[in-house]
Symmetry: C2
Subunit: 89 residues, 2 copies
Amino acid sequence: MARVVVDVMLKTEILDPQGEAVLGALPRLGVTDVSSVRIGRRVEIEFDENASNVEEQSRVIADKLLANPVIENFTIAVEESVETGAEHA
Amino acid sequence: MARVVVDVMLKTEILDPQGEAVLGALPRLGVTDVSSVRIGRRVEIEFDENASNVEEQSRVIADKLLANPVIENFTIAVEESVETGAEHA
Protein backbone atom coordinates (compact mmCIF):
# COMPACT_ATOMS: atom_id res chain seq x y z
CA MET A 1 0.00 0.00 0.00
CA ALA A 2 1.53 3.29 -1.12
CA ARG A 3 0.84 6.43 0.80
CA VAL A 4 1.26 9.79 -0.86
CA VAL A 5 1.41 13.03 1.11
CA VAL A 6 0.39 16.20 -0.71
CA ASP A 7 1.22 19.44 1.11
CA VAL A 8 -0.70 22.45 -0.13
CA MET A 9 0.56 25.85 1.02
CA LEU A 10 -0.35 29.41 0.10
CA LYS A 11 2.28 31.01 -2.13
CA THR A 12 4.70 33.15 -0.12
CA GLU A 13 3.39 36.37 -1.68
CA ILE A 14 -0.18 35.59 -0.60
CA LEU A 15 -1.31 36.87 2.81
CA ASP A 16 -2.17 34.09 5.25
CA PRO A 17 -4.66 35.50 7.80
CA GLN A 18 -4.93 32.21 9.67
CA GLY A 19 -1.17 32.10 10.19
CA GLU A 20 -1.14 35.76 11.19
CA ALA A 21 -3.81 35.06 13.80
CA VAL A 22 -1.71 32.27 15.32
CA LEU A 23 1.40 34.48 15.22
CA GLY A 24 -0.51 37.22 17.04
CA ALA A 25 -1.58 34.81 19.77
CA LEU A 26 1.90 33.45 20.54
CA PRO A 27 3.00 36.15 23.02
CA ARG A 28 0.12 35.09 25.27
CA LEU A 29 1.76 31.65 25.41
CA GLY A 30 5.11 33.25 26.32
CA VAL A 31 6.56 32.57 22.86
CA THR A 32 8.22 35.68 21.47
CA ASP A 33 10.88 34.49 19.05
CA VAL A 34 8.75 33.32 16.14
CA SER A 35 8.98 35.42 12.98
CA SER A 36 6.40 33.72 10.79
CA VAL A 37 3.57 31.18 10.84
CA ARG A 38 2.03 29.79 7.65
CA ILE A 39 -0.87 27.35 7.67
CA GLY A 40 -1.71 25.02 4.81
CA ARG A 41 -3.24 21.61 4.21
CA ARG A 42 -1.70 18.17 4.50
CA VAL A 43 -3.50 15.52 2.44
CA GLU A 44 -2.71 11.83 2.94
CA ILE A 45 -3.78 9.65 0.02
CA GLU A 46 -3.64 5.87 0.37
CA PHE A 47 -3.52 3.88 -2.85
CA ASP A 48 -4.40 0.22 -3.28
CA GLU A 49 -1.49 -2.20 -3.31
CA ASN A 50 -1.71 -2.82 -7.05
CA ALA A 51 -1.97 0.87 -7.99
CA SER A 52 0.44 2.10 -10.63
CA ASN A 53 1.67 5.59 -11.56
CA VAL A 54 0.99 6.67 -8.02
CA GLU A 55 2.97 9.92 -8.26
CA GLU A 56 1.44 10.82 -11.62
CA GLN A 57 -2.09 10.18 -10.34
CA SER A 58 -1.40 12.20 -7.20
CA ARG A 59 -0.24 15.10 -9.34
CA VAL A 60 -3.55 15.03 -11.23
CA ILE A 61 -5.51 14.92 -7.95
CA ALA A 62 -3.52 17.80 -6.45
CA ASP A 63 -3.73 19.88 -9.59
CA LYS A 64 -7.45 19.44 -10.24
CA LEU A 65 -8.91 18.93 -6.80
CA LEU A 66 -6.65 19.90 -3.90
CA ALA A 67 -4.80 23.08 -4.83
CA ASN A 68 -5.84 26.41 -6.31
CA PRO A 69 -2.88 27.11 -8.63
CA VAL A 70 -3.52 30.86 -8.56
CA ILE A 71 -2.69 31.21 -4.88
CA GLU A 72 -1.26 27.84 -3.77
CA ASN A 73 1.76 25.62 -4.34
CA PHE A 74 1.84 21.91 -3.65
CA THR A 75 4.50 19.30 -3.02
CA ILE A 76 4.12 15.54 -3.45
CA ALA A 77 5.96 12.92 -1.39
CA VAL A 78 5.53 9.20 -2.01
CA GLU A 79 5.98 6.88 0.98
CA GLU A 80 6.10 3.32 -0.32
CA SER A 81 5.17 1.64 2.93
CA VAL A 82 2.63 2.95 5.37
CA GLU A 83 4.28 3.81 8.67
CA THR A 84 2.69 5.03 11.84
CA GLY A 85 5.34 7.61 12.75
CA ALA A 86 5.84 9.20 16.14
CA GLU A 87 2.50 10.66 16.98
CA HIS A 88 1.44 12.56 20.03
CA ALA A 89 -1.88 11.37 21.32
CA MET B 1 16.71 30.37 11.24
CA ALA B 2 14.99 27.18 12.35
CA ARG B 3 11.81 26.07 10.69
CA VAL B 4 9.46 23.73 12.48
CA VAL B 5 6.68 21.88 10.68
CA VAL B 6 3.69 20.81 12.76
CA ASP B 7 1.32 18.38 11.04
CA VAL B 8 -2.12 18.18 12.62
CA MET B 9 -4.31 15.27 11.52
CA LEU B 10 -7.65 13.96 12.74
CA LYS B 11 -7.26 10.76 14.77
CA THR B 12 -7.87 7.67 12.66
CA GLU B 13 -11.07 6.82 14.50
CA ILE B 14 -12.56 10.27 13.75
CA LEU B 15 -14.60 10.63 10.55
CA ASP B 16 -13.03 13.06 8.06
CA PRO B 17 -15.86 14.44 5.86
CA GLN B 18 -13.49 16.64 3.85
CA GLY B 19 -11.35 13.64 2.95
CA GLU B 20 -14.45 11.58 2.17
CA ALA B 21 -15.62 14.31 -0.21
CA VAL B 22 -12.32 14.25 -2.09
CA LEU B 23 -12.38 10.44 -2.17
CA GLY B 24 -15.88 10.54 -3.65
CA ALA B 25 -14.79 12.95 -6.37
CA LEU B 26 -11.80 10.90 -7.57
CA PRO B 27 -13.64 8.59 -10.02
CA ARG B 28 -14.64 11.68 -12.01
CA LEU B 29 -10.90 12.31 -12.50
CA GLY B 30 -10.43 8.71 -13.64
CA VAL B 31 -8.69 7.71 -10.40
CA THR B 32 -10.17 4.49 -9.04
CA ASP B 33 -7.43 2.85 -6.96
CA VAL B 34 -7.41 5.11 -3.92
CA SER B 35 -8.65 3.56 -0.69
CA SER B 36 -8.49 6.53 1.68
CA VAL B 37 -8.00 10.30 1.77
CA ARG B 38 -7.40 12.19 5.02
CA ILE B 39 -7.03 15.96 5.17
CA GLY B 40 -5.30 17.82 7.97
CA ARG B 41 -3.30 20.97 8.54
CA ARG B 42 0.38 21.68 7.92
CA VAL B 43 1.75 24.54 10.00
CA GLU B 44 5.16 26.04 9.22
CA ILE B 45 6.66 27.99 12.12
CA GLU B 46 9.81 30.04 11.54
CA PHE B 47 11.83 30.90 14.62
CA ASP B 48 14.38 33.68 14.94
CA GLU B 49 18.02 32.66 14.57
CA ASN B 50 18.76 32.99 18.26
CA ALA B 51 15.70 31.06 19.40
CA SER B 52 16.29 28.23 21.86
CA ASN B 53 14.21 25.20 22.84
CA VAL B 54 12.58 25.33 19.43
CA GLU B 55 11.06 21.86 19.66
CA GLU B 56 9.81 22.42 23.19
CA GLN B 57 8.23 25.75 22.25
CA SER B 58 6.63 24.20 19.18
CA ARG B 59 5.12 21.49 21.34
CA VAL B 60 3.51 24.15 23.54
CA ILE B 61 2.17 25.99 20.49
CA ALA B 62 0.77 22.80 18.94
CA ASP B 63 -0.73 21.63 22.20
CA LYS B 64 -2.39 24.90 23.21
CA LEU B 65 -3.15 26.57 19.90
CA LEU B 66 -2.98 24.31 16.85
CA ALA B 67 -4.46 20.94 17.75
CA ASN B 68 -7.61 19.81 19.50
CA PRO B 69 -6.29 16.87 21.54
CA VAL B 70 -9.73 15.26 21.76
CA ILE B 71 -9.93 14.59 18.02
CA GLU B 72 -6.48 15.38 16.60
CA ASN B 73 -2.89 14.13 16.73
CA PHE B 74 0.13 16.22 15.83
CA THR B 75 3.70 15.54 14.80
CA ILE B 76 6.61 17.98 15.06
CA ALA B 77 9.58 18.06 12.69
CA VAL B 78 12.47 20.50 13.13
CA GLU B 79 14.31 21.58 10.00
CA GLU B 80 17.43 23.44 11.10
CA SER B 81 17.98 25.30 7.84
CA VAL B 82 15.22 26.74 5.72
CA GLU B 83 15.08 25.06 2.36
CA THR B 84 12.85 25.85 -0.57
CA GLY B 85 12.08 22.27 -1.58
CA ALA B 86 10.72 21.13 -4.91
CA GLU B 87 7.59 23.18 -5.32
CA HIS B 88 5.13 23.19 -8.17
CA ALA B 89 4.20 26.73 -9.12
